[in-house]
Subunit: 259 residues, 2 copies
């Protein structure tokens, strides 16, 4: 019987180790997805990755009682480190947050850090839900890792915990920041890592922006004359980062040198 799924068509993130012949059983949700939604059957193959062992082609062996057991048969991609920029963000309304998590993952974010700011609407963040969305987006966009999702922290703590060697770009909606393209053009050759922080729907309070701006590793950046929604600002900044300093360029020299 021919496999229905081509290598990249269906991919699942799993927690279990992946190695030849080591059978693994999917949880109920993933089993349901493969067997009921995608209508796969024993003999069909899917891609599996766990963030450590690369990507594997795995064959469905058993589907008794609605559960799905697979066996990895061949490693089709070696594990790579996908560092990716970090994104600290104030929780947003549901739809905007969904867009933010999904697209930040597509844009290769390495770590998602919810921060509570003065104007943040509500302080409850469902980390489990954010993680599930990040995993789904990672499965669909072909990543070999999923972004880390931190527990929420107060904005003031962000500066204390932030590693000094990672530059922090503040998405500054006041118009006082330096144009993003100029900041990326003049990026120091030896500074490889970056992170971004974007405020809530109502923006940062002035004292928050001042406090962040005084951190030695922080740069206030501007994203043009229009008022961008928080999620638009975050995604725009991530896209520009990947295009100029991240992995959208084949040639690493084009990223690290000043051009």
């Amino acid at each position: 019987m021919e496999a229905k799924a081509a290598r990249a068509d269906i991919r699942l993130y799993v927690v279990a180790p992946l190695a030849v012949g080591e059978a693994l059983r999917l949880d109920e949700r993933q089993s349901h997805y493969l067997l009921r939604v995608m209508r796969l059957a024993p003999g069909d193959t899917v891609g599996l990755f766990n963030g450590r062992d690369g990507e594997w082609l795995a064959r469905i062996e058993d589907t008794a009682r609605g559960g799905c057991t697979l066996t990895p048969i061949e490693r089709i991609a070696a594990q790579v480190t996908e560092g990716g920029p970090w994104l600290a963000f104030a929780p947003l309304k549901k739809d905007a947050l969904d867009v933010l998590i999904e697209k930040a993952t597509e844009l290769g974010v390495g770590r998602l850090i919810p921060v509570l700011t003065q104007r943040t609407q509500g302080s409850r963040v469902n980390i489990g839900r954010l993680s599930a969305q990040a995993i789904e987006a990672a499965e669909q966009c072909g990543r070999l890792t999923v972004p880390t999702v931190d527990e929420p922290m107060a904005l003031a703590r962000l500066g204390e915990k932030w590693p000094a060697e990672r530059r922090l770009l503040l998405l500054d909606e006041t118009g006082e920041g330096r144009p993003l393209a100029d900041v990326l053009r003049d990026w120091p050759v030896d500074a490889r890592d970056a992170g971004f922080v974007c405020g809530p729907e109502g923006g940062f309070a002035p004292e928050e922006l001042d406090g962040l701006g005084k951190l030695p590793f922080a740069v206030r950046v501007g994203l043009g004359p229009r008022i961008l929604r928080a999620e638009t600002a975050a995604l725009s900044a991530l896209a520009c980062w990947q295009a100029w300093r991240g992995d959208w360029r084949d040639d690493p020299a084009a990223r690290t040198g000043r051009r």
Copy 2:
């Protein structure tokens, strides 16, 4: 009585001419928004723009029978030309299309062109709905114009109707395109205008991409190693364009020269 609304807080797009003392009556939807949703009253002021006469501060004069009549009292911004890049896009599922229209407008798109491709899901596009979304986004992001929304056209017609002096960047999901940052870096000094075309959820058919790629004004561009959703690709490309060649830089010389 003090005005409740600061200049930029509430802005409405209207079709009527704007000039001192020329009273205008809002339609039912906009009246409802100002009076019932925002709870404004006679004497309160809002911003009005029509894409031709700049932005005006206007005072609510009369609210009889739920209708809202305003008088422009002062021009607070002169009209500017907001050319903006064009975006041709295959219609997407509802949520993705909503995100695309809203954020493309925030990112300063000048013209939205629905194109029907081989893999486009469904051929019905509600132009009125797309226009309404673009207007709402323009009101909120502080633009002085709203993007034009074209009637849908077949993809093959796009190349025929496209002006030769405007470069067309094809968002090429095959990985064969040139990195976007390189294309923008090497942008010809005399080529000011740009447009993008992105495919449907399933991507362009190979012959569609070949056909577009052969157009003399077209360039195939790549957006990195991950598989981006259509709307993510479009928004990323617009953000990069604005950052490097558009209006996110204060200094026009930084945009037009090669840096």
